[in-house]
């Protein structure tokens, strides 16, 4: 079958889901069999940020918007140095992108990044299936899975995203320093999006980025004025090694700000519990209500787990909730100048409406 420009020939590819459903489409990007957790995002723009967001580790992302790759590949917009997702699924991709910053097309990029892609499937049908069935694992393959479906399904069901944080965190400490002396924020990298460091740095603080498994003592020895807990992939409850460290830092009463996985880890460290959402929140249109002011903000989100409000300890309060399903979107802590949000105030991609939270955090840092 012809590709969008009617020239090159693209290979048949299949997506087999845990429930036995098979979607048949065409391959683009790298050609590589892959098992992954299938999630969908409803963002209209921002596919480059999605592709380079480490939080998608172990997952195959489905774009519900049907025209992907319109503005090509713009390295300046990457949120990390590499693609951490397992596979990429779109309805169609653009072979003739157009943007003044565009450097290449999506197919070439995915080939170079060794990310397999699948296109020309009914992404809406797939999305609805995930919506009603809940998040499922899937296998991207190039031979008709009907032949040995049972064996494949067994394999599929056995799959889960493991060691996610360890796989994506940085290996070494790195610093973003201003010329003149200023306040210092330690950024715990659980799979951080670049824009978190950028957002802090632009606001006039030095950022020291540390690996996820850095001990509390080591962090404290850096004498930070604030601690930033980044986003990241996987099941938060898996990160039991990290909880005691965060608990120590919480007790140290240093201003702390958590985003997404960072928010979940802090809550778990404080004794709360997490649960898996049926199909997660992924998109740039999620309404979040600040219950202290009744203001609603449109936020960028990408998470499959959430914190159970009922499990929160006395010293923690949910100050923000999702206006659609009332799940916890933000927590403040009475015991310490710490707060966290489930969504992404650093945007990239998505709305910038909650950027002010970085100011709120840095106010605390600066008054420390």
């Amino acid at each position: 079958m012809a590709c969008p420009d009617g020239k090159a020939v693209f290979m048949q590819a299949y997506l087999l889901l845990e429930n036995g459903a098979v979607f048949s489409g065409l391959s683009f990007g790298a050609v590589r069999e892959q098992i992954a957790e299938i999630v969908f995002t409803t963002q209209l723009t921002g596919y480059l940020e999605t592709l380079t967001d480490p939080s998608y580790y172990g997952q195959a992302v489905v774009q519900t918007f049907p025209l992907i790759g319109n503005y090509g590949v713009i390295p300046a917009d990457f949120e990390s140095k590499s693609c951490r997702l397992s596979a990429y699924i779109v309805r169609s991709w653009c072979d003739a992108p157009s943007n003044f910053r565009c450097e290449q097309d999506l197919d070439t990029f995915l080939k170079n990044a060794d990310i397999p892609g699948l296109y020309r499937i009914d992404t809406r049908a797939l999305t609805k299936m995930i919506r009603s069935h809940g998040t499922m694992n899937g296998l991207l393959t190039y031979t008709d899975p009907a032949t040995n479906q049972e064996a494949l399904l067994k394999k599929l069901k056995a799959y889960s995203v493991k060691n996610a944080v360890a796989s994506v965190t940085c290996e070494q400490v790195s610093e973003y320093k201003h010329a003149q002396a200023c306040k210092k924020v330690v950024l715990y990298d659980f799979g951080a999006k670049e824009n978190i460091a950028r957002s802090l740095y632009q606001r006039g603080v030095d950022v020291i980025r540390v690996p996820a498994y850095t001990k509390a003592e080591e962090v404290l020895s850096l004498r930070p004025d604030g601690i930033m807990l980044s986003n990241g992939p996987g099941d938060p409850a898996e990160n039991t090694d990290i909880f005691p460290e965060l608990k120590k830092l919480l007790d140290a009463k240093i201003p702390m700000f958590g985003i997404c996985l960072g928010h979940q880890l802090l809550a778990l460290a404080a004794g709360a519990a997490s649960y898996k959402l049926k199909f997660g929140h992924r998109g740039a249109n999620q309404p979040v209500k600040d219950v202290t002011t009744n203001r609603v903000y449109i936020t960028s989100q990408n998470h499959g787990y959430a914190i159970d409000e009922k499990s929160l300890p006395d010293f923690a309060k949910a100050f923000m909730v999702n206006a659609n399903d009332n799940s916890v979107e933000g927590i403040t802590y009475d015991c310490s100048p710490a707060f966290s949000v489930q969504f992404h105030p650093e945007a990239c991609a998505g709305p910038l409406d909650t950027e002010f939270l970085f100011n709120r955090f840095l106010d605390k840092v600066n008054h420390q």
């Binding site: 209209l44 319109n70 809406r124 049908a125 919506r131 991609a349 709305p351």
Partner: protein, 1063 residues
């Protein structure tokens, strides 16, 4: 938290008649607003001069005033009704301007009326050019270098400063009328002058021309708590320089990276927040294609045409939500009606793309300047939804009813390669087709881009379509290629034509949902569009919600155009309601985003699809309807009848054969002969020679027209052979399948009848009489109900003729018949066995719900059981006068002389206890200032001279100074009427144009034997009058009516106010 409890009674101001730049979208918005208010138990008082609207329907509001939208009248309604609040942001520019005037004068405050939706400071900040600029600067939003000026000299000196080209934008005009791009000093002088004249405050903005930048729009909403959301982004195919109303638009924006998108989105939210709008707001940006530079072009702090498009493109009901916000709700307190569970405080996610395409009137106005620029010229638009841009574009093009099903426009195909290349730089209504032809002929995309600045993304898509077309022509139609062509939006019939082979195993589309959320949540009231994919959600939805009810499909009327306006949407919607009431499951198919019919909750299901046979049959295949209705969707729906019937679909009501019988000249003549009904003598011809022979045989004047038309397209009265020659050339330039009709012209009283027929009985709610004699299109005539000058004998004949025509045509439903009464004899001019343009207003003034009754008759009920009787209904106590409204100021070079070809875009109604009062109200509502002193310039053709003295006498007696050109002057002087003789334009340096320039003329009575061609001096005079907003009366009858009305004692202060719910 509930709404503000202090709001109990709200006045809603509508947008008045349909004009270019303000069309059906405000009926849609206003209707949604009224419904939203009533939902909350608020009493709604509505005022709108446009009777063809759904918002002026009985049950939409509690009190309905079809009254002139003049400040004085609105004040009187406020004093009478004592509303506690007024909703200002849903009646277009008209409603907004009136509300602001009331607020600024302190009238609202004095009468304790709260202004909802916007406040004057906000509006000024958005609409006053200088204040807008200052406001934007204060929040660091870049604007384009510009200056507000009030004189041509200042415009010139500022242009000197910033360099040409510059854009002229007049303040406070609709659709940017009076503006334009000036490339030279001479052009600047002309446009600046025109703009200053047209601006009600004589103010224009001279602005650096940034044409070529991307034009991006955001529809945003804000509530009193400061919650802000973006409903939709839109990107114009045509870069800055073309009015967004005249641009092909895609939603969402497609060529912007997230960085660019978020930059503009944040800017839009910042703007709405600064303006403190509580409701919807439209922000237009120019984005430099090669950097992050941008500029705010325009902000509309109200519901607009773009918000109607954004609503339909996303499923988010902006007007409804804006209304709820205006009465105190916050976004998070409002439910998303489509999902039924999530809140309205979110941003819609699309999993398809939408293409909007304008519908221009140049097929009717053959001499109009077709160039497209900063002044909107489109009368309507279509919207198409697809999974790819190609698919949506192809759907939009065939839905626009241009006579093509793909991007090959015959008139462009005729051009040589050189001509095509030259045409690329000319921005007119055919540009898309020229670009496509250029791509096909091998002009490089880069070259096209360099000339047009249209983003290469769009041009690449055109190339994809062109390549597909070529492959279909060259290759064997293999399954993959065929499917690929279908995905690109090619119809099966188009593929067969291109591939020159029959498709043996056709692929049909599936139907996908528009659900506001890209499938993240399940939807309660989605709508559907066709695409090529796996899952058929419509079939699933039908299966899932299985109702025992019979299903009926109602086909809508497509884009608003001259001759087929909002009246047909009114009819379609009422048909849907009537069928629903009867227990049918009703499906509507339409592609016009401006309308009530395409609101998500009008029918049980909506298909947003083009109205072609193939698209219609595909829907029938899924819905398997009991029957379909084509009688209410104008010519668009009627023309589906034949092919649907042939495909075995049941047409409800009047059958296709009856339509054919009424339109086929020979069959119709036979029928009349059988019924012993006379019509003007006439012939059917195919050639120019035959036409001339026929005309001479009948004797001039004759009426010339092609058969099968609506709105009198290409219809003229010919006075001599030369006229026939000219018009046959134009008509024959299109391929003609149907013959040209040549009839003897009879200048008698024209009357019009709408009737309902059940096959046995008829019901005529009333007879309408035109003020103008036959010869002026019924849509352009002032019509009076009930008829005033008919004897009982004539009335009896009309009723008798109507009954026998309706019955022998086997009409089941509506029929519209036009007659001329000439020398005391009744002649039939035209019979249309379908809904007509007069239905909405006649239903309202007679209190006979015609569409409802017609629909019930179509489902088998008998008229005599419906409770409204049969025969001619007894006239009521009120006189209703319908006055046409034109958009001549938007259409350059169009002759304003009225004739058999329809030119009006809308209408207003005057309702009063007597004729003169109703006429006065109608004229006032139509925008005539009704000035009772000043000067009248009279220049009429020889055939009108015998009658002109009577008219002149009346103006003279009122104290008007009369000016007349030589021939006319002599007639007046001979009749003893004082007048000043002036030269015609070509007769001297000081001529009638000079009079106009000196502000000495308040009315012009001008008729000429010939018109149309823009260089004729009579046309120049009339165009000048348009420019200077001087009323131009082009028929003796209209002039007489105007004189009588001016002589009457009526003023905006004393006309009666009629709540039509009490009629």
């Amino acid at each position: 938290m509930p709404k503000n409890k202090d709001i109990q009674k709200v006045l809603v101001i509508g947008s008045g008649p349909i004009v270019i730049g303000q069309a059906a979208e405000f009926d849609y918005a206003g209707t949604q607003a009224c419904k939203a208010l009533k939902e909350d138990g608020i009493e709604v008082v509505l005022v709108n001069s446009n009777p063809a609207t759904i918002m002026t329907d009985k049950h939409v509001a509690d009190k309905i005033y079809i009254e002139p939208l003049s400040l004085e009248v609105i004040k009187r309604i406020i004093l009478l009704e004592k509303p506690d609040s007024i909703l200002s942001t849903l009646g277009g520019q008209t409603g907004l301007t009136l509300s602001m005037q009331l607020a600024k004068e302190g009238f609202l405050e004095k009468n304790n009326v709260r202004l909802l939706g916007a406040n004057p400071e906000t509006i000024d900040k958005a609409e006053d050019r200088q204040l807008f600029k200052d406001t934007m600067e204060s929040i660091n939003q870049p604007c384009i270098p510009s200056k507000v000026v009030t004189t041509v000299e200042d415009a010139l000196s500022f242009a000197d400063e910033i360099g040409l080209p510059v854009i002229i934008r007049p303040a406070f005009t609709l659709g940017g009328s009076g503006g334009g791009i000036a490339e030279t000093v001479e052009e600047l002088k002309t446009i600046a002058h025109g703009g200053i004249m047209q601006s009600p405050i004589h103010q224009i903005l001279v602005e650096k021309c940034i044409s070529g930048w991307k034009e991006i729009e955001f529809e945003v909403m804000r509530d009193k708590n400061g919650n802000v959301i973006t409903v939709c982004s839109m990107e114009n195919f045509d870069p800055v320089g073309v009015h967004t109303g005249d641009s092909i638009v895609i939603a969402p924006a497609v060529t912007l990276s997230d960085k660019e998108y978020q930059m503009l989105r944040s800017a839009a939210l910042k703007i709405i927040d600064t303006l403190k709008v509580e409701g919807g707001c439209n922000c237009q940006f120019a984005l430099h294609p090669n950097s992050f530079d941008y500029a705010v072009i325009e902000v509309n702090p109200r519901v607009s045409r773009s918000s109607a498009l954004a609503s339909k493109a996303t499923g988010y009901p902006i007007a409804k939500v804006a209304t709820k916000i205006a009465i105190g709700y916050t976004l998070d307190e409002i439910t998303n009606a489509v999902t039924g569970k999530t809140s309205a405080c979110f941003e819609p996610a699309l999993d398809y793309v939408v293409v909007k395409m304008p519908k221009w009137p140049f097929d009717k106005f053959v001499y109009a300047e077709r160039k497209i620029g900063t002044q909107m010229k489109a009368t309507g638009e279509v919207m198409a939804i697809g999974q790819t841009f190609e698919e949506a574009l192809m759907k939009a093009v065939r839905g626009a009813e241009l006579g093509v099903t793909d991007l090959n426009m015959p008139s462009v195909a005729e051009l040589s390669d050189k001509e095509v290349e030259k045409a690329i730089s000319r921005c007119d209504d055919r540009r898309l087709f020229v670009l496509y032809a250029a791509v096909k002929r091998g002009v490089s995309l880069q070259e096209i881009h360099d000339i047009t600045k249209i983003d290469l993304w769009f041009l690449n898509k055109l190339k994809n379509i062109a390549q597909m077309e070529q492959e279909l022509k060259d290759d064997l139609l293999k399954q993959e290629l065929y499917l690929e062509a279908r995905r690109m939006g090619f119809l099966n019939s188009t593929i067969e034509k291109l591939a020159r082979q029959k498709i043996t195993e056709p692929i049909y589309p599936v139907y996908k949902m528009v659900d506001t959320c890209a499938a993240e949540f399940s939807a309660e009231t989605p709508y559907f569009y066709a695409s090529f994919d796996e899952e058929n959600e419509a079939a699933e939805f039908i299966h899932y919600n299985k109702l025992p009810n019979k299903r009926v499909i109602v086909f809508g009327s497509g884009p608003i155009r001259i001759g087929q306006g909002i009246e047909f949407d009114y009819a379609s919607v009422h048909c849907v309601w009537a069928l629903k009431k009867k227990g049918f499951e009703v499906i509507i198919v339409n592609n016009n985003p401006e309308t009530v019919s395409t609101d998500f909750d009008t029918a049980d299901r909506l298909y947003f699809e083009p109205l072609t046979t193939e698209d219609a049959l595909n829907i029938c295949r899924i819905e398997r309807p009991y029957g379909v209705v084509v009688a209410f969707g104008g010519q668009t729906a009627i023309k589906l009848a034949k092919s649907l019937e042939r495909a075995g679909v049941r047409i409800m009501g009047t059958q296709n054969d009856s339509i054919d019988l009424a339109e086929d000249r020979e069959r119709f003549d036979d029928l009349l002969e059988r019924l012993d009904i006379t019509k003007p003598r006439g012939y059917t011809v195919f050639s120019k020679a035959k036409a001339i022979a026929a005309a001479n045989n009948l004797g001039y004047p004759v009426l010339v027209r092609p058969s099968y038309v609506l709105g009198g397209q290409n219809m003229i009265i010919a006075h001599e052979d030369a006229d026939i020659n000219e018009y046959m050339d134009i008509i024959l330039s299109h391929e003609i399948e149907n013959p040209v009709l040549i009839d003897k012209y009879l200048g008698g009283i024209e009357i019009e009848v709408d009737a309902i027929c059940d096959g046995e009985d008829i019901l005529i709610p009333g007879i309408m009489e035109h003020v103008e004699r036959a010869g002026i299109h019924s849509g352009d005539s002032i019509a009076v109900y009930p008829a005033r000058n008919l004897s009982q004998r004539i009335i009896d004949v009309v009723v008798d003729y109507t009954k026998s025509l309706a019955i022998s045509l086997h009409t089941v439903g509506l029929v519209n018949i036009q007659y001329v009464v000439y020398q005391n004899k009744v002649f039939v001019i035209e019979v249309n066995p379908r809904s007509s343009r007069t239905i909405p207003y006649i239903s309202k003034v007679t209190n006979i719900p015609m569409i409802d009754l017609a629909t019930r008759v179509m489902t088998g009920e008998r008229l005599k059981d419906l409770g409204y009787g049969t025969g001619l209904h007894r006239p009521g106590n009120y006189i209703a006068v319908k006055v046409p409204v034109f958009s001549f100021e938007k259409l350059h070079d169009v002759d304003t002389h009225l004739g058999p070809e329809m030119k009006s875009t809308g209408e207003v109604l005057g309702v009063a206890p007597n004729f003169h009062e109703a006429l006065y109200k109608g004229l006032l509502a139509a925008g005539y200032k009704m000035k009772k002193d000043g000067g009248v310039l009279i220049t009429v053709r020889d055939t009108d001279k015998p009658e002109i003295a009577d008219v002149a006498k009346k103006f003279s007696a009122m104290g008007f100074t009369l000016y007349a050109t030589k021939g006319t002057s002599k007639v007046l002087t001979d009749a003893g009427i004082a007048n000043i003789c002036v030269e015609k334009i070509d007769e001297g340096a000081y001529n009638c144009l000079s009079l106009l320039a000196e502000n000495k003329v308040d009315y012009i009575i001008t008729t000429s034997k010939k018109g149309r061609i823009p260089t004729r001096s009579s046309v120049i005079l009339r165009r000048k009058a348009v420019e200077l907003a001087i009323p131009c009366l082009t028929s003796i009858d209209t002039a007489m009516a105007m004189a009588d009305s001016l002589r009457s004692k009526y003023t905006p202060e004393n006309v009666s106010l009629v709540d039509i719910n009490t009629l």
